[in-house]
Every structure is written in structure tokens, then in C-alpha cells.
């Protein structure tokens, strides 16, 4: 398969060969260029994200936020970075130095690595792996390792406690996350993120698999350690959790990694459920894909920030119960229902072959209906559970409470 030298950006290798370079070297150089381009994107984004995060949090809390350094405080992250650069780096006595230093590096590197498989447009993708989703899951699991390594090696009881708690949380929420990821795979029959995006030409998966999307989003909010799942760094109980002993740029790497992880999750959500780069005119001008994907991601990211800044923190037992008793059974139910519905659709011969909007309409209606039935069943179950709980509470008290409490007159 020989590619032609069409333009210098997309077919760099072919152009270099045409210019008389060794084919292997040309190939390597083009890969290197691609890697640097893809890796620079999250690095540039994270600088902006720190500002967005602080500004949005401030506005939600009725503050102004950073507004001194540069226009609208836009240069605040730069100032922060400069300050962190000159901070003394303290390693606590008794720490396991090698893995203590390794943890922040893992934390940041694994998030950047996730960007390798994200399709930015029909033609721009770092590496269109055939197992893109598994790659993402594997890198997400490394997030647990960084917490364990950081908490264990700093020789601090708070850090260790925080690490234990975090690992229990991260491990647990990985189960519904992976189950929710199975649904797009079921529907498209591929694990490549690019192919999954192509399959959403007719209808976005947020419509055909809304419950899987919701479970994915909630589980990821827990995976990234954001409120209401921020037991990872419960300030009032654990001071800061696993990263308590870190200072200077090592701490900065943990924070930047967290911000970037949330953004990466937003990108993935857009790719998997919001149609990725799909938008009007994207087939004619593929570069528009960047804009569409960016806009969708920004919306999801702001929603995640909103959740983070408005909801109070769960208790440990509540987080665990929510996961194992609601999210995991729910995710399995969604998976089974979605699989059955797809079987029925295929048996009826309603499978969209080309994936236009009108053509995929019957499938959309059936899948949406199945999801709505599931929502109804779930709410019904919650109502019955609540009624039973109230009856049990009343049995303990031994008397019925008045429906309307009337203040005692004097």
C-alpha cells in the first residue's frame, strides 16, 4: 500500500520518500510528528483548563475568581506554574524515594497516553487502534496504581488511609464503567473509537443508549475523584488523601493530571455518545471535526464542573452501596436489555445498513423505548424501596407521625 504525497501534513512519510529519504526513517519521522502533535494538544488544553476550572468554581460560589494576572486572569496558570517551579521539593523522611517520585509521573503520563486513540475528525486520529476501548480501560486502571503507589510510599498515615479508600472507590466504579462501555461495542461491533464515531452518523448513542451514557458519566466522575465522589481527598477527614506529602511540581502533576483526566473523560463521552466529530459539513471539510468535538466536549466538561461544584460529598458506605447495589445491577440490566433489543431489531430486519438518520429511525425508536421502560422500572423499584423503608421506620417508632406538623399554639 503506497500512499501518495498529497500534502505535507497528512502524508508526511510519502512526501519524505518522494524527497529521497529512507522509507523506514520517513515512517518513523511521520509517527514522531504525529505523537508530538497529539501530545501537545492536552498540554495546551490543561493550561486553559486550570483557569476554566477556577473561574467556573468561583462563579458558582458567587466569587470572581482569578482576575489579576493578565486579561480576565488568563495568565494565572502560568503564574502558578512559575511559583510551583521555585517551590522547595520536600520528600518526607522514611519515604520510599523511587516510587514516591514515580507516582506523579505515572499520574500525568497515563492521561496524556489516553489521547492517542481519540478521533478528532474523520481523518485526524493519532492511532486508530482496533481495540481503542480496551486501551482506554487499561490506561484508566493505571489511575489506581498511581494512588496506591503515592499513598503507600509517602510514609504517612493519612496518605495510606486515603489511598485505601480511593482504591476501593476506583476499583468499584470501574465495574459499571466497563459494563457501560460494552453497550456502544455491542451496537457497532467494533472497539475502534473511529469506527464507533462513524457508526453514529445516523443517530448519536446518547439517544439510542441514554442509560449507558449516564452510567458512563457517573462512573467516570467517581474515577476522576470529583465531588460528589471526592472521598479521595476528603479535606475534613483525610486532609488531602494520598497526595498529602507531595509538594511543588510533583503535587502540580497530580492536580494537572486530575483536571486533564476530567477533560479527557468529556472528550471520550463526546466521542462515544455525542457523535464525536459529526456535525454539518464535516464530510466535506474534515477539519471542522475539531470544532464540533471541541464544542461538545466543552459542554460535557462544564456540566461535570457544575456537578462537582454543587453536590455535597457522599459517605464511604453510601458510595459503595450506590455502586454495588444500584450502578452495577443497573449496568448489567442495561446491557442485557440493549442486547435483547438489538437481537429483536436484527431479527425484524430493521438494522440500518448505511446509517442515515431516516434509515436508523426504527432502531432508534425501539432502543429509546427499551431505555425508557428500564427507567420506569428503576423508579418504580426506588419508590417501593422507599415505601418499605418508611414502613420499617414507623414500626420502630411505634406510632404514626402526623402528615402536617401543626406548631403548638399557646
Amino acid at each position: 500500500m503506497e500512499t501518495q504525497c498529497i500534502d505535507i501534513v497528512n502524508t508526511l512519510a510519502a512526501c519524505l520518500v518522494a524527497g529521497g529519504a529512507d522509507p523506514n526513517l520517513a515512517n518513523f519521522l511521520s509517527i514522531l510528528m504525529g505523537v508530538v502533535l497529539v501530545a501537545t494538544l492536552p498540554l495546551v488544553t490543561v493550561i486553559l483548563l486550570i483557569w476554566v476550572e477556577r473561574k467556573v468554581a468561583a462563579r458558582i460560589q458567587d466569587r470572581i475568581g482569578p482576575n489579576r494576572v493578565g486579561p480576565y486572569g488568563l495568565l494565572q496558570p502560568v503564574a502558578d506554574a512559575l511559583k510551583m517551579l521555585t517551590k522547595e521539593d520536600i520528600t518526607p523522611a522514611g519515604a520510599d524515594r523511587f516510587i514516591y517520585n514515580l507516582a506523579p509521573i505515572i499520574a500525568f503520563a497515563m492521561i496524556i497516553l489516553m489521547w492517542a486513540v481519540i478521533p478528532f475528525s474523520p481523518v485526524h486520529v493519532g492511532a486508530d487502534l482496533s481495540i481503542g476501548i480496551l486501551y482506554f480501560i487499561a490506561l484508566g486502571s493505571i489511575g489506581t496504581v498511581k494512588v496506591m503507589v503515592g499513598g503507600w510510599s509517602s510514609n504517612n498515615k493519612y496518605a495510606l488511609l486515603g489511598a485505601f479508600r480511593t482504591i476501593a472507590l476506583l476499583l468499584s466504579y470501574e465495574v459499571p464503567l466497563i459494563l457501560a462501555l460494552l453497550v456502544p461495542v455491542l451496537m457497532t461491533g467494533t472497539m475502534s473509537l473511529q469506527d464507533i464515531t462513524f457508526a453514529q452518523g445516523g443517530m448519536w448513542f446518547i439517544v439510542t443508549a441514554p442509560l449507558a451514557a449516564l452510567i458512563f458519566l457517573i462512573a467516570n466522575q467517581a474515577e476522576t475523584g470529583r465531588a460528589p465522589f471526592d472521598l479521595i481527598e476528603a479535606e475534613s477527614e483525610l486532609i488531602a488523601g494520598y497526595n498529602i506529602e507531595y509538594s511543588g511540581f510533583k503535587f502540580g502533576m497530580f492536580m494537572a493530571g486530575e483536571f486533564l483526566h476530567v477533560f479527557t473523560v468529556a472528550v471520550l463521552f463526546s466521542v462515544l455518545f455525542l457523535g464525536g466529530w459529526w456535525g454539518p459539513g464535516v464530510e466535506q471539510a474534515p477539519a471542522l471535526g475539531f470544532i464540533y468535538l471541541g464544542a461538545k466536549t466543552a459542554l460535557v466538561y462544564l456540566a461535570l464542573l457544575w456537578v462537582r461544584n454543587t453536590l455535597p460529598r457522599f459517605r464511604v458506605d453510601q458510595v459503595m452501596a450506590l455502586n454495588w447495589k444500584v450502578m452495577v445491577p443497573g449496568a448489567i440490566a442495561v446491557l442485557l436489555a440493549q442486547a435483547l433489543a438489538l437481537r429483536v431489531i436484527d431479527a425484524l430486519g430493521l438494522t440500518p445498513v448505511r446509517g442515515g438518520f431516516v434509515e436508523s429511525l426504527p432502531q432508534t425508536v425501539i432502543l429509546l423505548g427499551v431505555n425508557l421502560v428500564l427507567v420506569f422500572l428503576f423508579l418504580n423499584q426506588v419508590r417501593r424501596q422507599g415505601r418499605r423503608q418508611r414502613a420499617a421506620d414507623l414500626a420502630v417508632v411505634g406510632e404514626t407521625r402526623p402528615v402536617v406538623s401543626v406548631p403548638a399554639g399557646d
Binding site: M1, F28, I31, G34, V35, V36, L43, A81, M84, L85, T86, K87, E88, D89, I90, T91, P92, A93, N101, I105, A109, M110, I112, L113, A116, G126, A127, S130, L134, N155, N156, K157, L160, F164, I167, A168, E174, V175, I178, L182, V185, L186, G189, T190, M191, I239, E245, G248, F249, G252, M253, D317, M320, A321, W324, V328, I332, L336, A339, D346
Partner: protein, 120 residues
Amino acid sequence: MYAVNEWAFIGVFFAIAWVFPVLPIAASWFFSPRKPNAVKQSTYECGVETVGDTWVQFKVQYYIYALVFLVFDVEMVFLFPWAVAYRQLDWFAFAAGFLFIFLLVDALIYAWRKGALEWM
């Protein structure tokens, strides 16, 4: 050629991704002051001396969650090939996949009944 290129990209990415976090940390090592002393390096515990060993024994509950997770995680990875091929499967493979998921549900119910999912 095509597939090899994709994996070569990942390989190069793995080699390069380390540079981005290492670079600022190395730079801060170069710029930052270094004046260590015993108090500064002592373990932080709200101003109190740490009593005993830090690496203490911990609650067995965490271990049980890890075990339940392990069961699920390993089994779910097996579901991915099934999901990829799902729309071309015959009825036997379809039923086999469902049976597999029901075994998963069975494991969940067992763990639930045994009280492994209660935070104590």
C-alpha cells in the same frame, strides 16, 4: 503495514509521554531551593509525632471489595469479544453470552447475600 504503523505510534507515544511530566519536575529540581531539616521532613500529622509504624494493617473490607472487583473485571474482559461479534452471532453463541452474564449476576447476588457489599 497499516496496523503496524498504529502500534508503532502507541510505542513512540509511550516513550515520549514520560518526557512531559519528567521535564517540569526536573526543572523544578534545578530551580528550587534545597534546605532540608529534620522538622521539615518529618511526617505530616497535624503537628503531632507519628506513633508507631505507618504501614499498618488495614481493614479486611477493602480486600473483599478488591476480590469482588477481580471477579467482575476478569469476566467482563471476556465479554468484549462477544460484544464485538454480537451482531453476527448465531443463537447458540447468543445464549452462551447471556448465560455468562447470568453467572456474573449470580456472583453479585452471592456476594450481596454474604454481606460482602456492606461497609462495616
